[in-house]
Each structure stands twice: as C-alpha cells, then as structure tokens.
Homo-oligomer: 443 residues x 2
Amino acid sequence: MRVSRYFLPILRDDPKEAEIVSHRLMLRTGMIRQESAGIYSWLPLGFRVLKKIEQIVREEQNRAGAIEVLMPTIQSADLWRKSGRYDDYGAEMLRIKDRHERDMLYGPTNEEMITDIFRSGVQSYKDLPRSLYHIQWKFRDEIRPRFGVMRGREFLMKDGYSFDLSAEEGRHSYNKMFLAYLRTYKRMGLTAIPMRAETGPIGGDLSHEFLILADTGESEVFFDRGYLDMDWTTAKIDNDDVAGLQGAIDEFTSLYAATDEMHDAAEFETRVEAGRRVNGRGIEVGHIFFFGTKYSEPLGCVVQGRDGEPITIHSGSYGIGVSRLAGAIIEASHDENGIVWPEAVAPFKVGLINLKAGDATVDKACEDLYAKLEGAGVEVLYDDTEERAGAKFAVMDLIGLPWQLVVGPRGLADGMVELKNRKTGERESVSPEDAVTRLAGRK
Amino acid sequence: MRVSRYFLPILRDDPKEAEIVSHRLMLRTGMIRQESAGIYSWLPLGFRVLKKIEQIVREEQNRAGAIEVLMPTIQSADLWRKSGRYDDYGAEMLRIKDRHERDMLYGPTNEEMITDIFRSGVQSYKDLPRSLYHIQWKFRDEIRPRFGVMRGREFLMKDGYSFDLSAEEGRHSYNKMFLAYLRTYKRMGLTAIPMRAETGPIGGDLSHEFLILADTGESEVFFDRGYLDMDWTTAKIDNDDVAGLQGAIDEFTSLYAATDEMHDAAEFETRVEAGRRVNGRGIEVGHIFFFGTKYSEPLGCVVQGRDGEPITIHSGSYGIGVSRLAGAIIEASHDENGIVWPEAVAPFKVGLINLKAGDATVDKACEDLYAKLEGAGVEVLYDDTEERAGAKFAVMDLIGLPWQLVVGPRGLADGMVELKNRKTGERESVSPEDAVTRLAGRK
C-alpha cells in the first residue's frame, strides 16, 4: 500500500481524552475514531490489525475442532426470559423495541440463542460432542465507557459454546478450549496466564480468566514466577487424549495465580517462596466457563441416549475479546516512540521509506523493492510522499511496523539500503537484494 | 470436514413459512435459522457461503483501489439530524435509547458517518481521491420481512463511498465501482444487468441498480437481449484511463434495460426490435449512487485546494447486499433436487460419499481421497456416516456442492470411483488418482 493513496489520519498531538497508552496510540495512529462514547470506527490501519487478530482466533478455534457460525446482533427478549437472565442482566443490556413494539435486545452474549440452535438441530447422542463459535459484535451499555477499545460498548468478541453428554466430557471440551486459548495468545506474541475466576452472570462453577502481563494493565495480579518459564508451544499435546490433556491443564494451573479479586495473601505466601512471588498488572483477554446444564435445562436442550433415555446437555462458554486484544497488545508492546507490533498482528510487516521522493534513482529503487516484496507476499506500507525524512521516521516508529526499510540517495550510491528493526532499534546496511531475501524469508 | 463431526441440521420437510425457493432451500439445508422475523443465524454451511461471497466482494473492492474500514453498527442520532435524514428515514430506522436516554440508531447505511470520518481525516486536495468501504451488518425494520435473507431486517451489506474534488472526477470513481460490480457478480457465476434507477432516500441524480436474472426474481425487468451476449470479463479496461472507462460504461449501459418501476413501454418498442425484447424477472443485488455534495455540504466536508481555496467534496455511495446475494444466487441456480452452487461460492467444492461406512476397504479408500484432496487445498465435505446411500445422495444433491465423489465396494473392486457433476448430472467412472488430479486441477 502506498501512503499517497492510503487513508492514515495521524494526529499530531496526543488526544486529551485518552487515559491509557493503547487508547492514546490507537487514536494518534488513526487506527480508530470515536463515534459515540465507547463506540469506535476502525480505520484502515486498525482494521488490518483487527482482522489479523480475528484470523488467529479463528484458526485456533478451528484447530480445536470448533465449528464457525454467525448469530445476529439483535435478539428477541423471549429466549432471555426463558433462561431468567432478561431481568438479571441489568442496565448493561441494550434493550430495544422494534416498530411492532416487540422487546428486542442487542446481544451481550449468546448462551441462550446457541443452546436453542443446538437443541433444534440435534436429536441423538450421536450428534455430540460439538463446539460452535462465532465472531460477532456485541453491545454492553457500560455506564462509563473508557480506555478506548479496552472497555467499549460495542465490541467484537469470539464466543464459543461446547455441548457434551456428560460433565466429564464437558470438562474435556473445556480443556481443549483452554489449550486453544493459550495457543491463540502465544501466536500474538503475548504471555497469558490462566487464573481461576468468578463466574458472574454467566454462571457455573468452573471458570478461568486469561490475563496478559502489561505494566499498564487494569488489574493487579499475583502469581508464581514459574509461569514466565512455562512454554506451552513446545508441549506435544493430543487434543483427543483425555487424560493427557487434563494432565497438561493441571500443570498449567498448578502454580499460584490470582487477580486482586480472587487473591488470598496468606495462600500466596504459603504456596510461593519469596523469590518467586510476582506482583504485577494484567489485562483480561479471555474468560472461559463450564456451567453444565444451566442453560440446557430451562431451554430443553435434551437428546436421546443410546438406550432411548433423555440426556440433558452439558455446556461451557468461551469468550475472547477480539477488539479488546488490539488495545491489550499495545499495552503489552510499546515504547516511548509508539507501538511495537508483534509480527503476527502487525498491520504491515514492513514500512518502506523513500527519503527523496521525486529523485529518479531513489524512486526507482523503492518501486523495485516495493514490487519485489509485494510479489513475495510481504505486506508493505510504502511511504512515497514528499514529507521530510524526520516526519516519515516518526510516523513509522509511531505506527510500529516490525521492520523499516530506508532508501536514500547516499546509501544507494554505495548500493545499500538500511533495514531497521523497530523493536530492538538495530539498523543494518544491506543490499536491496539482501533486504528482500531477509524480509521475504522471515514469514 | 467430516459429516460425523459437523453441524448440518437438514430438515426433512419443506418449511411452510418459506414462500420462495431460496428461503425454502436455505432453511432445508440448514444454512440459516430464523431467530426473529427477518433475523437469521448463519449455520456452518450458510456461514461458509456468506464468507465466500464477502471475500469476492472484498477482493474486487480492493482491486478497484477502495480501502477497507469498519464502522460500528450503532450510531448516534446527532449526525443524522445534521444531514436532515433522521426524521426522513421513517419507521424502517431502528431507533434506540441508551441507558443515558441518548438517541441512538442501528445504522441502515453510513453516508453521514463516513463523510464525517473523511472530513476529520483530510485537509488538502492532495488527500483525494479516495474510496472507503466496509462490510458490516445493517438493520432496516421492514414492516413485513419475508423471503428469508432476501428481505431481512438484519443484513450484511458492503457499502462504499467515494470522495473526489469535482463532479467529473466523482463520475470516474462511480465508473470504477460500476466496473467492480460487474466483475464481482461475474465471479459469482451471475449474469447481472445494470439498470438506471431511482435514487430514493440516498439522493443524487445518477444511479444504477444491478439485477441478476432469475425466473423467481421479485422484479419484472425489460431489456435488450444484447445484454446476454456482452462479456465484461474479456474487456481490457484500465481503471486509470478516464475516457476509456467512460466509453466502456457507456457501452454497458447503451442498450435498453429497466425494472417495471422505470419501464417505458413506448421507448422499449422504439429502441429494441421485437426479436430482441426480453421480459423477464430479476433480483436487485447492488445499487450505486452519485450524489455530489449532498452530504459533504451539511457536514462541512471541505478541503483546501491548490491555491488555498475551499473545495466541497463530491461523493457517491455503492452498496452490495452480501447476505442477500446468498439467496439471490440460489434463486438463479437451483433445480428440483436442490441448490446448484457456482464453484466460487460453494460451501465445499466436493462431497465425498462413502457408500459403505464401516467396510475397511471403502473406509480406507475414502480416508485416502479425503486426505489427498484436503492436502491439495480442495474443500471436501466427507459423508462418513452410516446413513443409507439414498439419503446421502439426496442430501448431497440438496446442498448442491459442485462435485460428488462416490466410493463404494463395487466400483473399488474394479479400482474405480464415481465422479458426478451436480450441475449437469454427468457421471464418470474414474480411478481415485484421476479423481484427485481432476478435482485439484479445477481450482
């Protein structure tokens, strides 16, 4: 993409309304724009990040055997009355009357609807187990939305639901999602720690939150340093090996970890030796629940067992805040000059900077690099404008693409261009050919 | 995907509420499920089709130089009051009050918001031209929603917006979108005819609808048979060649074509000789508008010209009904046995039918074919269940995958499997190796 044809409304100054760094940087880089309190448009740069996050979430859901569907944003109030949550949910639920004065609502979550869909689509024990998920906009009418996309009113969430014949099988489905979540965050360059959690309005008695560590995080967290050394990615875990998976999950949850809400200072001191106690900050980026028959019972989600007997389905639900992750990743990865994107979610991999647009030699070298990189499948944002070099550098640092490729007349005279690593700040002088080889190789 | 692990709730009987064939087939095949009047869930099979349509739309928008963003579903009423459309829009607009009693609405379209986004992001004539688009759920509170996703209340739409410095340049942007639309429909296997249209609540004085031909279409259409012989795909058109593109669009709109609303019987008879007059039925699948300064004026969308003078932006808007297309394609492509998917939008390319699940030889041959096809990037729905053959055939015909690959003990004894073309009904006996080669080759 050429900057001269892109829509990249960078703000010169820090927006006053932004209290936290991700909100400030998302506004400044023109990733998002506030339309109403807690409601944002995703501008081109932000949209690309959102899509990358969404795609990683999707791939790991599919890998765990979950099947994608898409439920509507607007729901009828009737189902929520059946489950008893219509009145429970309070003012956070955006209630709507349609032109026929029917009670509708903008879905804050989908336990009722998916249970009803599943109920009407299956008859027999043979149709289980299944996990269904969707990635859809939700609305929660927060009384004081703030922190940008970290606590918005309209937000994109992946919510998945498992359906099993027994509590034991349900636990296995829960474990599969647990593992899928760890893999999802890892792919985004995040260190996520699972913590036992309250179940709140979703219900049930087994629940974990996943928190990523960020100095600017909203929650205080207490955990055993051992979590920082665990590497789930190297563990060979077979999703279908029930005992093996349970063992792995038991290991991943064996050390102490709690948010301030669940923290028990006495237990922390007993279980964790002093040198291993970490007291830091974290951001919740996922929450999973196993609630058994809480929704299947009132909604009549029953199948016929092997001998004809009725079996009430056991379920769990599994949420990841997709739009929230865009902010959370920035909280976890930025410096004084701007965002530092992990490669997997960066809007572009490379920022190509033309130091002398209009100079035939430099233009030609840039066009050539641009074409070769794009041809090799590398996503490039090419700054071909006539801005001065200093401004171009500042913008590239601000928007945080992993690599900057700087092309100017002086370097070219020696047949060289400069490759800068945004994260480490390292710069190297390389030939244009080497630059392409290296950037195309590091997929 | 294995049927034994999929969620494919096929209905045995025709749903009574469905008046038109696409609605009936989408419900029967378990593509969608009605949640409220005019509000649907997209179940796994339908979701796959929706995503394929969306992706084709996206690719052709990007190819035309449009940039993707994502605006929220919920909008503040304030912007609509500025443009004067808040009161104009009537009861079709879903009006909402949030917990602070602020007037909000579920966006039926986005002219106001995108104009405001663009206004706040640009200063100078150098920032134009630009086209921005998004693919987002919309809501129009139809008084009597019907025909399934063809006239729903919550629907997925691609809406794009162009921003230019003059009416002439705006016309060029309009023409680029015109061409992008023709390419989009063609890729989905549809014959679309552009027809001059009323501008309705969007406004402006230049507008075209795109209608695809389907015997079951909602609108009566009158057109010159010559349209059926025009092939836009072979035309070499350079998007940046202003006169050349205008010439092509003039040609594509030179023949008579009108919906009943705009039809002029006398003109039809004068301009079209008797043997070339076609009176058929069609379905609207896109609508484009050029409305100049209608929104930029009240919303103050002005940039600084080359000499510092203020220039009010000229705009157009361009809509494609993404979810509606799923229904429209079925209306245009089905037979008495079910859907006949064009390959580009089919949920899977191949249905692999195991005629004797449980038989070691047949299972092995199927597993082998399944692995090889998936390995070659072919999307396969593998019916590995113990259903009887007749039921499997009926379901595969009903869901309309382009190819069926039938594997049974008798054929295998001769080293053969059967390849069936869903559209033509042709069957061929081929070796498993040939089947893979042919299906992997026909991308």
